[in-house]
């Protein structure tokens, strides 16, 4: 199936929804492509419902009003024919064409054919994924990411009866722990590696987003009520069990960044949820050739200008891919991107004043995100917990010993480690092991993830028979929507 449109938005989370609505309201046609069955992304993940169902559970979700507003606006645009919603589509590549870009997607299974969208501009709002760190036993059943736990809770109902330990770093630990309690689960403890007083250095940034401070206090209150212990400056160092996790060992990290001797503690659990923060999903950006950036700590992102345009002329990006910053920032960036895209196509959506206000808000939220990143850093001591037998690449079952052998053979970057050990060659193509491997390369302090290793040209698997089908000719410029409906205001 082939569709021609002005703007193709990939991802229907906060950034994508906001971008699609802003662009559509500014008067351009929009295709909204997303892999899930309903809009909302991971942040507003909910059980499948009627299309554009605007009511999600207040107990579980934040910014429920915002979600309702955006869903309703998107639904209105869809009714008018200005927005085409394509759920259940996994984009496997985005490439430049003379007229703009071509987005190719396939359904999950069974895959019989491709869905192709030709657009003048693409807005990549592909969100983020957890950034897990390996430790002995992390590959046991029952060990999952906090994001995975969230998706089970939000999208799929209850986890009552499970005894869950949450560990890692980041505000998600507390909020998820509170959610587990609200859903009838038992929280065995929260193990946060950050040091509690780091926030003091960032009061100015905190002041910009008071709602978050109130939220944080709320979670702590809920946990205290349920007598859940929250340890800070501590980490999980191993998980044990037969066929599933049953015991987890944690230890305190001293001021010098090393494990405090004698501080090990064992917890009985049925599930262990771990998160060391998020990392943006950049497969499509890398495939399209957008310039990527990485900071000294190894955090990667796509470079965008003031209007959310990437270095590729036909591609914008909004939300987590431009730098992890949470849903509020994603909503703002999405609005800016949608508006800027429409302007680029000759449609002046929104007053200039609005755009200025949005950009000011973006600055404040980015400052908050930077502050968060400095508080919730990845503790660099984690490789010391590894044993030779610890799985580093889950897909290909490559152990730490095998990674070391590759390093001894002369591998000095993530790609060469991959070529000599197979780490990153499996199904997930290095999405999970790429960052940890980069930390294990001597002379790469702070885990500078090589940007080149982020290239995953085929971002979603597809059968050879579908790949073998004929390439549709690019929609000529004259066939792209030329006279879209007049701009409408929400």
């Amino acid at each position: 199936m082939i569709l021609a449109t002005d703007v193709c938005v990939v991802g229907a989370g906060p950034a994508g929804l906001a971008a699609a609505v802003s662009a559509g309201q500014a008067g351009v046609t929009v295709a909204l492509v997303d892999s899930a069955a309903t809009v909302g992304g991971q942040y507003w993940r909910h059980p499948p419902s009627r299309p554009w169902n605007a009511v999600i559970d207040r107990d579980v979700h934040h910014d429920v009003g915002e979600f309702a507003r955006l869903s309703n606006q998107a639904a209105a645009l869809a009714r008018e024919g200005a927005l085409t919603y394509l759920p259940g589509q996994f984009v496997w590549t985005v490439s430049e064409t003379p007229e703009g870009c071509r987005v190719r997607a396939v359904a999950e299974e069974p895959i019989r054919e491709e869905t192709v969208v030709d657009a003048r501009l693409a807005i990549l709002a592909t969100g983020a994924m957890d950034r897990p760190l390996p430790f002995p036993g992390w590959d046991l059943p029952g060990v999952l990411t906090v994001g995975g736990l969230q998706s089970l809770l939000k999208g799929h109902g209850v986890l009552a009866g499970q005894r869950i330990l949450l560990a890692g770093t980041g505000p998600l630990l507390l909020s998820t722990a509170a959610l587990v309690l609200a859903r009838g689960g038992t929280v065995a403890g929260v193990i946060e590696s950050a040091r509690p007083l780091r926030w003091v250095r960032h009061l100015r940034a905190l002041a910009g987003v008071p709602a978050r401070v109130v939220e944080g206090a709320g979670y702590m209150a809920a946990l205290t009520r349920h007598r859940v212990t929250v340890q800070t400056s501590a980490m999980v160092i191993a998980a044990c069990g037969g066929d599933r996790v049953s015991r987890v060992t944690s230890a305190r990290i001293a001021q010098d960044g090393r494990v405090a001797p004698g501080s090990q503690h064992t917890h009985e659990v049925s599930l262990l949820a771990v998160s060391y923060g998020f990392t943006p999903r950049l497969e499509l950006h890398a495939a399209a050739g957008c310039a990527l950036a990485r900071d000294a700590k190894g955090n990667v992102s796509v470079e965008v200008d003031d209007d959310q345009f990437t270095s590729c002329p036909g591609v914008l990006s909004a939300g987590e891919p431009t730098g992890i910053g949470g849903a509020s920032l994603a909503l703002v960036e999405g609005q800016i991107a949608g508006t800027a895209a429409a302007r680029r196509l000759g449609r002046s959506g929104g007053q200039t004043g609005e755009l200025v206000a949005l950009k000011r808000r973006r600055r404040t939220l980015r400052a908050f995100a930077v502050a968060m990143a400095s508080v919730y850093t990845i503790p660099s001591v984690w490789p010391e917990f590894l044993t030779d037998d610890t799985t580093i690449c889950r897909c290909e079952e490559v152990t730490y010993a095998e990674i070391k052998r590759a390093l001894e053979l002369g591998a000095s970057d993530v790609r060469t480690v991959k070529l000599l050990s197979r780490a990153g060659m499996g199904w997930c193509q290095g999405r999970i092991c790429g960052y940890p491997v980069s930390c294990l390369i001597p002379g790469a302090p702070g885990g500078t993830a090589d940007v080149a290793s982020l290239r995953i040209p085929i971002a979603a698997p597809l059968p050879l028979s579908v790949l073998a089908s004929a390439e549709q000719p690019t929609t000529p410029s004259s066939h792209l929507p030329r006279d879209p409906p007049a701009p409408r205001r929400g």
Partner: protein
């Protein structure tokens, strides 16, 4: 309550749940065994990026259990090896 089959056993689910979620709800945590070392694996990332939750559903191997919506009458099995070890038989 509707059910699907996993390794011959009826698993109840709520409308909209993924196979993985329904299985966890039913106490089934192991979804497959790995190719090299035959070790058990379950759901890990929950959003379809880690490819650990691979199961065979209605005859198609290597489907991510966290993405497949459970449906009445669906037949799923645990995988081992490549999941396709009887390809071409």
């Amino acid at each position: 309550m509707p059910t699907f089959i996993f390794d011959g056993r009826a698993v109840p689910f709520e409308h909209g749940q993924s196979i993985a979620a329904a299985l966890i709800g039913a106490g089934v945590i192991t979804l497959r065994r790995t190719r090299r070392r035959n070790r058990p694996r379950g759901l890990f990332c929950g959003i379809g990026v880690c490819f650990d939750c691979l199961v065979c559903v209605d005859g198609t191997a290597n489907r991510r259990a966290c993405l497949v919506a459970a449906r009445e009458g669906m037949v799923a099995t645990m995988q081992s090896g490549t999941g396709l070890d009887d390809l071409g038989d």
